[in-house]
């Protein structure tokens, strides 16, 4: 986050340096700025927007996407993509609900094991055979969805969560916010530490920036990639399990297509799909931003959820155009 500006700034002229720093700042924190702006608009525009209940509902609804988006940020920074997370999220939920008949521990561990295994397999395929992440995880998307349908009688059986302790994990509240919100916050902080303050995090950036150069410098490219996809799988499974605990059932239809929402949130948060740049602060802001947009549209009332799709799509387009122009400005 800091390296780029400090290294380049002193070399170029004053005006250019300032312009570059500003554009860099917007790229990194643009989502956060827009988020604040929207919250201000919402607060003054709608009476029922800035209420604790509404804020809590936005945050709770965003937490599951946020958990997955943390993993996706690592994947995208490393120059890859993970299309399988939506399917893994659903699979995690179904497995957690099914496993809850054997207790809370099984309900939590089973989805982590299964989704972690899928993530690991995808990581190994990508790192060892050099197949494109897009294709490997597309196969993962289909295969995992098939697996999920197979264990739920083609989606007809909805397993209910049998274990009270496990259900409490998704439904219990502290200060009006459910446990998953706090879990998300802890995971986000851990993710930031991992990304910014460890060798592993630096390796992820290095691989995404220039894989060949990273390999020549001795970065363990294959191993880092495997870890990144493993992490993404684990987090998607965890989000699915927590969601099942929240809903008290393993719903088989929710979460289909979730991978695209997550990718959109990460991109809106300023992480470049080309890899090598980005961060978790932006991702969290991106997830919240999409949540706030949805909430604002709900506030307007007579607008359907279709409008939310239109707005989200337009917003995503604006963000990528802005990012593109900003990164051009930085290269000058």
């Amino acid at each position: 986050m800091t390296t780029d500006t400090t290294v380049i700034a002193p070399e170029s002229g004053n005006g250019a340096a300032r312009k570059e720093r500003i554009s860099h700042l917007i790229q990194q924190h643009g989502a956060l700025m827009v988020l604040f702006a929207l919250i201000v608009v919402g607060t003054f525009g709608f009476d029922s927007f800035a209420t604790p209940e509404n804020a809590a509902s936005v945050v709770v609804a965003s937490s599951f996407t946020a958990i997955i988006a943390i993993g996706m940020t690592f994947v995208i920074i490393s120059g890859g993509i993970d299309l399988s997370v939506g399917s893994l999220f659903v699979l995690g939920g179904v497995l957690a609900a099914w496993g809850s008949q054997y207790g809370a521990v099984v309900a939590l561990l089973l989805p982590l094991l299964a989704c972690g295994a899928v993530g690991l397999a995808q990581g190994l395929l990508i790192a060892r055979t050099g197949m494109a992440p897009f294709i490997v995880t597309l196969a993962g998307l289909l295969g995992v969805r098939g697996l999920m349908l197979a264990i739920s009688d083609e989606g007809a059986t909805t397993y209910l969560v049998r274990d009270r302790t496990f259900a409490a994990l998704g439904q219990g509240e502290i200060l009006g916010l459910t446990y998953p919100v706090y879990i998300t916050i802890v995971l986000a902080l851990l993710g930031m530490l991992l990304l910014q303050r460890t060798g592993f995090g630096q390796n992820v950036y290095a691989i995404g920036g220039n894989e060949q150069a990273a390999a020549l410098m001795g970065v363990p490219v294959a191993r880092t990639k495997v870890y990144v996809y493993l992490m993404s799988g684990l987090l998607a499974g965890l989000a699915g399990a927590l969601n099942a605990a929240r809903l008290s059932s393993g719903v088989t239809i929710l979460g289909i297509g979730l991978e695209l929402d997550v990718i959109a949130a990460v991109v809106i948060g300023g992480t470049l799909l080309t890899g090598g740049a980005g961060g978790l602060t932006g991702t969290i802001a991106g997830v919240l931003l999409l949540g706030v947009i949805q909430s604002l549209i709900n506030q307007v009332g007579n607008l359907t959820s279709s409008f939310q799709q239109v707005v989200s799509g337009a917003f995503l387009a604006l963000v990528v155009i802005a990012q593109r122009l900003l990164s051009k400005a930085q290269r000058l």
Binding site: L125, A132, F134, A139, G143, G146, A150, F307, Q308, A317
Partner: protein, 324 residues
């Protein structure tokens, strides 16, 4: 094929292995389709019935049409995720303008597809946004627009449009004839026109194409417009067959089927090569596969898992040659 014959110069064992891979990549899809057909003829009752064939072909036609555009886009190292939403938009637009008659309505739907394609194409070609994000934004936004235009399933009674969906010519469904005709057109476009050469050149090496004076941006834009129009055609045909406009669910996840068809057909995602007929075979293979599994009482879940395996196998086979 030309590179293939010169490439292997190692010991005989390796040569054979390389040859097998090249053969698989070139003809694997055809072999797989033939093998599945043979299996079905032998083991599936009523497989050779005309009615069954008809159903399979009519079902696969929209996927084939969308895949043709996808093959062009992938040939330029791009990807078009918006095709399913374009189908939905075409379905919405076509019923909105049905009052003016079937053909003006269809024209408007194709125009809508072209506009979406142009939007994606401009983002990719002129702004320099990555194809996957540019078309992702359109996937989300355009589906929303389609839903806003036609919020609920809307049935229609226009005889011309219904005839387009369920009519036949010489015993073949119109939908299938149109898909076949478009395949011929796109094949011609890729193999015999300057535009086709330019598309392949840009996909192979964009920088070199730019330096040698090709109109890179314009060609890229055109490719996405073509993909949009083809998706709109698929949307109109699917709507005509349903006899109802269903923007909420029409074309959902068809981008995945189309990408699968292209990849299974052996077109590399790295661009520079477009295999139109193999792409059509890829779509047929997937359709035949799911039909076979269903006929033998294996559920949908199996189909998806087998599809996943086939995608991986196909890409693994293409990978072997792609070391250049």
């Amino acid at each position: 094929m030309a590179e293939a014959t010169t490439a292997p110069s190692g010991p005989p064992g390796r040569l054979d292995r390389a040859r097998v891979f090249i053969w698989l990549q070139e003809y694997g899809v055809y072999a797989a389709v033939l093998a599945l057909l043979a299996f079905n003829v032998l083991f599936t009752p009523h497989f050779l019935d005309a009615a069954n064939f008809r159903t399979q072909l009519v079902q696969v036609a929209p996927i084939v049409i969308v895949s043709l555009g996808m093959a062009l886009v992938i040939g330029t190292q791009g990807i078009d995720l918006s095709v399913g939403s374009v189908m939905a938009l075409a379905a919405a637009v076509v019923v909105l303008y049905l009052g003016y008659g079937a053909w003006p309505a269809i024209l408007m739907a194709l125009l809508a597809g072209a506009v979406v394609g142009a939007a994606g194409g401009s983002l990719v070609a002129y702004v320099g946004v990555q194809p996957i994000v540019a078309t992702l934004a359109l996937l989300v936004g355009v589906r929303g627009i389609a839903n806003v235009l036609v919020p609920q399933l809307k049935e229609f009674r226009n005889p011309d449009l219904i005839a387009l969906g369920s009519g036949s010519l010489l015993g073949l469904p119109l939908v299938v004839i149109i898909a076949a005709a478009l395949t011929v057109v796109v094949t011609f476009l890729v193999r015999r026109t300057t535009f086709g050469r330019q598309v392949v050149a840009i996909g192979g090496n964009r920088a070199a194409s730019e330096l040698s004076g090709l109109p890179v941006k314009r060609v890229l834009l055109t490719v996405y417009v073509i993909s949009g129009v083809l998706a709109a055609i698929a949307g109109v045909l699917a709507t005509a067959r349903l006899q109802a406009s269903d923007p909420t669910s029409l074309g959902q996840f068809i981008e995945l089927s189309a990408i699968t068809a292209v990849v299974v057909g052996g077109t590399p995602l790295t661009g520079g090569r477009i295999r139109v007929l193999s792409t059509v075979m890829g779509a047929l293979l997937m359709q035949l596969l799911s039909a076979t599994l269903i006929k033998h009482n294996l559920p949908q879940s199996w189909t998806q898992m087998v599809q996943a395996g086939i995608i991986l196998a196909a890409v693994y086979a293409t990978r072997e040659r792609g070391t250049r």
